[in-house]
């Protein structure tokens, strides 16, 4: 039985453009998520610092979007030969795919659209990792979505005092 419970045959994943359907009517309880889609995302795309993909439902409504960028999880201090961690991992940086933004249309929540978007991002990251290094899908979560990423999407969580938390999905099977 699938964990996805709506008809995704009516979804088309579309690279954001000025003509993408439903951008102006996108609604979310967090205004910065709406602003990002309607104002910042195209700019980021032009600057090649973030690419946004929109889940368009039935050729009418933008029901969700995800913004992706290359990223690395970095160690704060320069890695030295004395570091114990070098026995397990040779560098001070972990190449990753960043989920910069992710939001679902307010009227279409609880339809596993977020899960669909993360699933696709993981698939993309696995494909990229065949061409260039990419070990995790990573993000910096808002507090209210941490349990969703953790429980539903099996992301790991590093909580940090007074700094942005990091969540990640390890792309490597044992």
């Amino acid at each position: 039985m699938s964990i996805f419970n709506i008809d995704f045959d009516k979804i088309v994943v579309t690279r954001l453009s000025e003509n993408t359907i439903g951008i102006d009517s996108f609604k979310n309880s967090k205004q910065d998520m709406v602003t990002h889609l309607q104002k910042d995302a195209l700019r980021d795309q032009r600057l090649k610092i973030g690419t946004t993909w929109v889940w368009v439902y039935d050729n009418k409504v933008a029901v969700g979007y995800i913004s992706l960028a290359m990223y690395s999880i970095d160690k704060k201090d320069i890695l030295s030969n004395q570091d114990e961690s070098t026995k397990k991992y040779p560098y001070g940086t972990v190449p990753s795919l960043l989920v910069g933004q992710l939001a679902t249309h307010k009227d279409y929540e609880c339809n596993k659209i977020g899960m669909s978007m993360i699933s696709w991002a993981i698939q993309q990251a696995l494909e990229y990792s065949e061409e260039l290094g990419c070990r995790t899908v990573a993000l910096h979560p808002h507090e209210d979505v941490i349990s969703w990423y953790k429980d539903k999407l099996k992301f790991k969580h590093i909580r940090r005092d007074n700094k942005q938390d990091i969540m990640y999905f390890n792309l490597l099977k044992k």
Partner: protein
Amino acid sequence: MALREIQPLDDKDWNTLIDDLEKGQTEEQTMFLKEALNHAKNLKISR
């Protein structure tokens, strides 16, 4: 989340990350991944 807010990991958090990466996916992550990839491969993409 804005890129400017991202900060590197101190030793403790870095070691936590590396220890975990070394273990590879948990069983439940692998199960989720299988379901996720099954879903993703059926999505229609317009580039």
